[in-house]
Structures are given as structure tokens and as C-alpha cells.
Amino acid sequence: MTFLWAFLVGGALSALAQLVVDVARLTPAQTLVGFVVLGGVASLLGLYTPLVRLAGAGATVPLTGFGHVLVQGTIADIARNGWLGIFSGGLEAAAVGVTVAIAFSYLVALLAQPKA
């Protein structure tokens, strides 16, 4: 069942992003940044965690999931460490994703040549 929901939710978020680009005429970069913020806000309002439970990777693989991880990490760290968590929780929770993205991107950019 999760597979079906992953497809549907991931697809719906992607189609929505495409509509923002085509109809609202935002650039793809503006849309992506907007979706990260959107995911963070939805997460704060308690809307994103149920979506993750329903759709798994359908909710965590789109960039909205990155905003969600940042905000949930922040909230969790506030519970542990008080106000310092406002500044520590986000990157702590996103550490694996950010580090893998930077390290792998660098490695591939180093090894691969762009097509002429």
C-alpha cells in the first residue's frame, strides 16, 4: 500500500510544482526554494508527519521533505536542549542528507566530464 501512496503523493507534489512553474510563472529555482519553505511550514503545523507516515518516500524524497526534516529536527532539539535547539536541531537532523549531497556531488564533479 505504501508503494501506491508513495507514487501518488510524490507524483502529486511534482505535478503541483510543475503547475507553479507553468501557471504562476515562477522559475524552477524559485519553485524549489518555495517548496522547501512550504514543507517546513506544513511540518510546523503538524501536517507533514502524517503524510510521511502515509506515503513514505513519496513525502521524504521530494524537497518538501527536506523542509520537514529541518523543522522536525529543530522542534525535537528544543525539547531536549531548550532554546539552543532553535539553532542546532535543523542541521543535526539534516546532517546525513547534506553531507552525502556535498560529498557525492563533489566526487562526481571531480571524476566526470561534461558532454561537449
Binding site: F3, A6, F7, V9, G10, G11, S14, A15, A17, Q18, L19, D22, P28, A29, L32, V36, V37, V41, S43, L44, V52, R53, A55, G56, A57, G58, T60, V61, P62, L63, T64, G65, F66, G67, L70, V71, G73, T74, I75, I78, A79, G82, G85, I86, F87, G89, G90, V96, G97, A101, F104, S105, Y106, L107, V108, A109, A112, Q113, P114, K115
Partner: protein
């Protein structure tokens, strides 16, 4: 001569009339298909991690996302991602797999500008804004949460 407001509105109307019409529904359908399929692959990877490393549904999301990022970087290096991106539009860009592509592709392209501003700078062409506004959102959300809910 200063352009009046009416001039600008007229220009805007003409510009809109002559701008190439976008196949909005077809684009959305393709984005849905490609974005959905990438997430389907991501879900398979997540379930794979759950079974292999005996992870819970919550803890399996992080390695699965990381694997999808690595996959995007590698497919970009092999020159295979461009096709996915051309067909899928935002369906290819919104998943983290496409985000990795947005890091690798410009870094690769601008290698000739050197290792600092070329690779080092261009790697963050999109990742920089995404990290910036993502983190700002987290700080703002955390502050709001702290004021409203944190136990004292």
C-alpha cells in the same frame, strides 16, 4: 520618453499573446509520472534498508534519501539524467535525486573556473539558496514553537 502605466499594460498583453503557449496539462501529467516513479524507487530503497539493516519506518527515511541523492549524482555524472529532466520537468527536479543533479551539473560544467569558485561555488548554485531558506524556515518555525509550546 517615460513609459506610462497604460504602455506597460499594453506591452504585457502583447507579450503574453506572443509568448509560446505551454502545454500545461501535458507537463503536469509528465511531472506526475516521473516524480511518482522516482518516489516509488525511493520507497523500494527505503523498504530495502528497513529489511536489510532492520530499521524502523522512521529511521529508514534518512539512508533512503541519501541513497537517492547519491543516485542522482551518479546518473548526472554518467550523462543519463538530462533525459529524465527533459521529459519530467519539475517531476525530475523536485525529488532530491534532481537536487543532486542541480549540484553536480554546474560544478562539472564550471570546472575550468577552478576548484574554489568553479567547482566549490557552482556546487551550491541551487543548494545554497535551498539551504539558506530551509534553515531560515527552521529557525523561524523553531522560534514560534519555542514561544508557543516549549515547557519552562
Amino acid at each position: 520618453m517615460e513609459a506610462t502605466k497604460v504602455d506597460r499594460l499594453r506591452f504585457e498583453a502583447v507579450r503574453r499573446r506572443h509568448a509560446p503557449r505551454r502545454p500545461v496539462l501535458a507537463n503536469a501529467a509528465r511531472a506526475f509520472l516521473v516524480g511518482g516513479l522516482i518516489c516509488l524507487v525511493g520507497e523500494a530503497v527505503r523498504q530495502g534498508f528497513m529489511a536489510w539493516l532492520r530499521l524502523s519506518p522512521e529511521t529508514s527515511a534518512t539512508p533512503a534519501t541519501a541513497a537517492m541523492i547519491a543516485l542522482g549524482a551518479v546518473l548526472t555524472g554518467l550523462g543519463l539524467w538530462d533525459r529524465v529532466a527533459r521529459f519530467g520537468g519539475m517531476g525530475a527536479s523536485l525529488p532530491v535525486t534532481g537536487f543532486a543533479n542541480a549540484m553536480v551539473a554546474p560544478a562539472m560544467e564550471y570546472k575550468r573556473d577552478g576548484w574554489v569558485f568553479g567547482v566549490g561555488g557552482r556546487l551550491f548554485q541551487l543548494a545554497g539558496p535551498v539551504l539558506l531558506y530551509g534553515l531560515l524556515t527552521a529557525v523561524a518555525a523553531g522560534t514560534a514553537y519555542y514561544i508557543l509550546y516549549a515547557p519552562r
